[in-house]
């Protein structure tokens, strides 16, 4: 264990190395490139390999190949690169390849503003490509959390055998803070579930256990697994039978939910007696927390619920954090993506006696607490 002064890109890199990263594959893109540069120097010193691919499409497909060959593997990117990866993310989900994608969110859509913060990839990070499946997504809000949740996200990827996404942002990426770096032996590392059966009986997509996750034979071990991007049965054989398709894809969808207790994470601030609960993630949550403290100083009973696992969403903690509240304000740098998640949780839980507000701030910069307050006032809501 050691103390370092790192920005979140560096903290992610340190977290990944402590989590056992072997292969980093990347394509340069602002504001994630310095993470790539940092690992280019540090990872080979630990015996790992760093590879610059020709584009993000190559990156994600190489990650899948590396993952199935036994490497702990990751990349870091930003919006345009994450969009290019979508096809391969669906492939990774289909063949159940654990890997980590760090999306350092910048201003979108399209090329947007490369150096500025955005939060427009929240919905995209939950599903990414066409077709039904679920990913696991964590959104840290400090350099320390960037370290901690990189380790956690790697573990999540191996717990459910699916890609995990770490949603960082341009402000977080380049804000330096003190970070406690733990070495590999000081963090919990979840490994693959090894096959118990001999190769002749191995079925790469069969799960007998309640977690719905198949055991994982790497390439080169004699098990001859097929990574099949087509609909497939337990052996990995292409099948169009609706029942076989349903068995497979329902498992891809539900295995994240099934393992939810091991995956969910959130933090609540001042919510015990709060009349108004804000919801925000990442850097935005830091500004909102400052606003909550300002409001408290003025006698307003405000609180903050900060989802860290964006998917699966920690709805239990969320519901208890709003149990005494009258209104919820979701604050984000987009058209209301986190708002949609919150709205669906309230609907599913049958919570109707609550006024829900969407503070959609479509800005290419992180607002301070005063600017958020100003925005609230400009909407004419009577919150306090």
């Amino acid at each position: 264990m050691r103390q370092e002064f790192l920005n979140s890109n560096q903290a992610v890199a340190e977290g990944a190395m402590s989590a056992g990263l072997n292969v980093y594959i990347g394509y340069p893109i602002t504001p994630s490139s310095d993470l790539f540069e940092y690992l280019s120097e540090k990872l080979p010193e630990r015996g790992g390999v760093v590879f610059q691919a020709e584009d993000e499409i190559a990156t994600i497909n190489a990650l899948v190949g590396a993952s199935l060959s036994g490497a702990r593997t990751m990349t870091a990117t930003s919006g345009p690169g994450f969009s290019l990866m979508a096809e391969g993310v669906g492939f990774a989900a289909m063949v159940e390849a654990p890997l980590l994608i760090v999306n350092v969110m910048r201003t979108g859509p399209s090329t947007g503003i490369a150096t500025q913060i955005g939060q427009g990839d929240i919905i995209q990070s939950r599903w990414s490509s066409h077709g039904p499946y679920n990913l696991v997504v964590y959104a840290p809000a400090s350099a320390q959390e960037a370290f901690d949740y990189t380790v956690r996200a790697f573990n999540a990827a191996y717990i459910v055998r699916t890609p995990a996404v770490l949603l960082s942002d341009a402000v977080l990426a380049h804000t330096r803070e003190r970070v406690t770096v733990r070495e590999s032996h000081e963090v919990e590392i979840v490994d693959r579930k090894k096959p118990a059966e001999p190769p002749s009986e191995y079925k790469p997509y069969r799960s007998d256990s309640s977690d719905m996750v198949p055991s994982f034979a790497y390439y080169g071990e004699g098990y001859h697994p097929i990574a099949e991007s087509l609909s497939h049965d337990e052996r990995g054989y292409y099948k169009t039978d609706p029942r076989i398709y349903r068995n497979l894809v329902e498992r891809l969808v539900h295995k994240v939910e099934r393992n939810k207790a091991k995956l969910v994470e959130s933090r609540s601030y001042y919510t015990d007696d709060a009349d108004i609960v804000f919801v925000a993630i990442g850097s935005m949550a830091r500004s909102v927390l400052a606003l909550v403290r300002d409001l408290r100083a003025d006698g307003v009973k405000a609180g903050l619920f900060r989802p860290i696992s964006v998917w699966p969403f920690d709805d239990e903690s969320f519901v208890s954090s709003i149990s005494g509240a009258k209104s919820i304000v979701v604050v984000e740098l987009n058209q209301g993506q986190l708002y949609e998640i919150v709205k669906s949780v309230l609907w599913e839980r049958g919570i109707k006696d609550m006024s829900l507000h969407k503070l959609d701030m479509i800005l290419p910069e992180l607002p301070g607490p005063d600017e958020i307050l100003e925005e609230i006032n400009s909407r004419g809501w009577r919150l306090w």
């Binding site: 080979p44 390999v49 584009d55 190949g65 060959s69 490497a71 790497y218 292409y238």
Partner: protein, 286 residues
Amino acid sequence: MVVVAQKPLHPLDEYLRTDRLPHIWCPGCGLGMILQAFLWSVKELYERGKIDPDKVVFVTGIGCTGRASGFVNFDSAHTPHGRAIAFATGVKLANPKLIPVVFSGDGDIAGIGGNHLLHAARRNFDVLVIMANNMTYALTGGQLAPTTPFTVYSTTTPKGNPDQPLDATKMVYALKPNYVARLSITHPTLIRESIKKALLKRGFRWIEVLSTCSEIFGRHINFRDPYELYERLKKVVKFRRPQSIDDIKYDWDNEITCGTFIDKDDPGWMETYMKMYGLEDKLGGL
């Protein structure tokens, strides 16, 4: 109960998932000959103690050729369209002891996957790519391929192909990887000899194999009969040792140059990188 060892019906059965046969390929298709040449090569190299089949990772993309990954009894992958080379790159990065082999079609490798091909070749990255070229998008019903000859009909160019075709072998030749060959299913023994050689080499190895699709490409050019299409292909296949890149022709009406165009032994990407960073102990021979 007495278990009687089942005698295989064919000497290559151990390299096939026989429960998945028959394959999807049409009568007259040349793809089976290329796959067979590959399987014979692995079998022979294994029997000579040169290769461990459990270390072969057989990677395909999408298309008729792409379906081969489902038929073979190796570690395998049927990747998204065009991504086989990228996937194989990750396999080698993760475990240098593995032998990734990309086996896919012209649309997959030279069309949608062209960028990956270009960069893997210029890096001399340690992967063997076998590209079956039937000059059409066969599985989707006969649309234009990057390799379709100039002015030839396809379902998406009903008045003939206005594009000049891509000579993928000529492009790879220009990038000077360790091994570059173009062969044809009309000369099957040469395919087998070439694959055997390429399997044992480091760096990037490229083998294009001209193939026949009588069902679609043949029908489009009025060579619906497999035998006639085979003869037609044989007529344009010319084996030469090129003196310069301009000697490599891809002309369906006169000559498609075949032969081994490059055979050298420079260090591949893996060896170069691992030595730069003092990681050569992780390299695993082949």
